[in-house]
């Protein structure tokens, strides 16, 4: 199980940049000042990319910790935190 946790960490590490790429790509494709749907609204895209980028970075950090084996043992009481 510990090996699996480490191996999957690589996937979480790579997933972060993939998410950011698709969001930026989606924004470039769909932003349309003449469009009336939410999806055409640049403000919404700016909000989403601004909020999601730190979350994607968080996923990468999660992956990094997993690769380093940090999740092999979870704290069993607060003294371990």
């Amino acid at each position: 199980m510990n090996t699996l946790k480490k191996l999957l960490g690589i996937i979480w590490l790579l997933l972060g940049p993939v998410v950011i790429y698709f969001l930026v790509q989606g924004a470039i494709t769909h932003i349309d000042p003449a469009g009336k749907k939410d999806i055409n609204n640049p403000v919404i895209w700016i909000i989403i990319i601004t909020i999601f980028t730190p979350i994607a970075v968080g996923l990468m950090i999660f992956g990094y910790y997993a690769v380093k084996g940090e999740y092999q043992h979870l704290p069993e009481n607060s003294n371990e935190l």
Binding site: L8, I55, G58, L59, F62, N77
Partner: protein
């Protein structure tokens, strides 16, 4: 108080009531803005003004999911420094006060751009307060509860989002039933009443909360001088704790957010927009399903005290991954207009209208049909007729194919749909019921409010709140598949299920006094 000397049951009941009523009111405040969004947008955000449109977008979108995580940080920090009771009293006052004030803002015609600016500011305060409320309520109840009932007691708070939805719907319907549409939509009309009602609810809740004592565990910590002087730093710059914040987010709360939003909100929107179900049926289907599923919040909270939180939440996510596609396919199939056309429907009523235009007229036909199995629908047909110089019809342009609207399914299908939505809400109760206790038990007392609030609100506000937008994005990109919008909640729930299964522990930390 330690885990062996729990507070008396009467005190715990008061704590649960005080926390739940306040949280329910906060949800009420939050929902009425959404339910009255159309009226509000015409009063405060007029069409054709780019700046007002921008403010409108921010007001409707921002408070929903940008501001809540920030509220979690601001009020979480306060809660860990000065105490749970006073912090979530403050969030209640801010939330209720800003809701009441939205009801007092003059409309755009009276004060111009000041109207949308004021509404935006009040919406941001609402979002911040909501971000701080839940963590306080969950922590407060959990720190009073005995270890073997923590899941059950905190699950009462989980019912409040649903109850807030019911009260909001009830108050709006009550006001609407007692006046005409014109009176309701007037500048100082009935749409403002639900906002004003909020102040009475808040006063009652403040009265209840003022009578409560601070959490015994926090009081003890404060007496010993062990509270955190910088909870944000300790939560997010302490690697051991930050690891757990990330695990809570990606292994539990992210999936909980999408399951919650899909079951409780996306289902209704899907029935109305994709299936074309009439307003009353789609609303009552949701209401019946929610009413019958709500007790399961308490059941799964109770069960989590016995078998652990992890697998209940992850089973809810797994079932969502497996069941969403067939359930939504059934909705589409049973309301498929092509199938309805095949049956020999009986014409019940027909309205024809001809609107003169230059050189001809537009012909409108609205026909109401009933199928042999008792389903009903309205067929709307529009055509243009141009008249030549001799006065004879010259050409017909079919502007649109007949459109089926206001579909009303028969009784059997109605119960079937209610049952399917009920299943989805039960999945919500599986992921949502045990989560307060799960998060409380993950973090130590001195930084608990801060540490649990942020992942919770990112999971709910960001991942859950994005369900409709990503759904629209996918539908626009792949228009041939009406179910493509489900790939986002299914994908996120599946990812969370994998991470949760592999990395989370099912062990319940009985001790939250540390």
């Amino acid at each position: 108080m330690n885990q062996t000397t729990a507070a008396p049951a009467s005190i715990i009941r008061q704590v649960i009531v005080a926390s739940s009523v306040g949280t329910m009111i906060e949800w009420y405040d939050f929902y009425i803005f959404g339910m009255l969004a159309k009226t509000i947008s015409t009063q405060f955000f007029p069409e054709g003004n780019a700046t007002a449109a921008l403010l409108s977008t921010l007001a409707i979108f921002a408070a929903g999911f940008i501001v809540r995580p920030f509220g979690a940080l601001v009020f979480g920090r306060l809660g860990d420094m000065i105490g749970r009771k006073y912090t979530f009293l403050l969030t209640l006052i801010l939330m209720g006060g800003s809701t009441f004030l939205i009801g007092l803002v003059p409309n755009y015609k009276s004060i111009g751009m000041a109207a949308p600016l004021l509404v935006l500011a009040l919406r941001l305060i609402q979002g911040l307060a909501l971000g701080g409320e839940y963590g306080g309520a969950a922590t407060y109840v959990a720190e009073y509860s005995p270890a073997n009932k923590r899941g059950y007691y905190t699950s009462w708070i989980q019912t409040t989002a649903t109850l807030g939805l019911f009260v909001a719907l009830g108050v709006i319907m009550l006001v609407k039933l007692n006046m005409t549409d014109e009176q309701f939509n007037a500048p100082w009309g009935g749409w403002r009443y639900p906002f004003w009602v909020s102040i009475f609810l808040v006063i009652v809740s403040i009265y209840i909360r003022m009578k409560m004592e601070e959490s015994p565990i926090f009081t003890k910590l404060k007496k010993e001088g062990k509270t955190s002087s910088n909870p944000l730093k300790e939560s997010f710059r302490n690697k051991a704790n930050f690891k757990m914040v990330l695990l809570a987010l990606f292994g539990a709360v992210m999936g909980q957010g999408v399951i919650w939003y899909t079951g409780q909100f996306y289902a209704q929107s899907f029935l109305e927009t994709k299936c074309g179900l009439e307003f009353e049926q789609s609303r009552t289907i949701m209401l019946w399903a929610i009413a019958f599923a709500t007790p399961f919040f308490l059941f799964f909270g109770w069960l989590s005290d016995r078998i652990g939180r992890k697998w209940i939440m992850l089973t809810g996510m797994f079932l969502g991954v497996v069941l969403y596609y067939p359930i939504f396919s059934t909705f589409l199939k049973d309301t498929d207009s092509k199938e309805w056309y095949k049956t020999e429907s009986k014409l019940i009523q027909e309205d024809r209208k001809i609107t003169p235009i230059e050189g001809g007229s537009i012909f409108h036909r609205t026909a109401h049909f009933e199928t042999p199995d008792g389903s009903k629908y309205t067929q709307v047909f529009t055509d243009t007729v141009l008249i030549n110089n001799a006065g004879a019809p010259r050409r017909y342009f079919e502007l649109s194919n007949p459109v089926l609207t206001n579909k009303k399914v028969n009784t059997t299908t109605y119960f079937k749909f209610t049952f399917l939505v009920w299943i989805m809400i039960v999945l919500v109760t599986m992921v949502y019921g045990p989560i307060a206790a799960f998060l409380v038990e993950m973090f130590p007392t001195k930084i608990r409010y801060t540490s649990m609030s942020l992942p919770y609100h990112i999971g709910n506000g960001v991942f859950g709140g994005l369900v409709p937008f990503i759904g629209l994005l996918l539908t626009t990109t792949f228009p041939q598949n009406p179910l493509v919008g489900l790939y986002y909640p299914i994908g996120i729930a599946a990812l969370c299920f994998v991470i949760g299964s592999i990395y989370l522990s099912n062990k319940i930390d009985k001790d939250v006094t540390d």
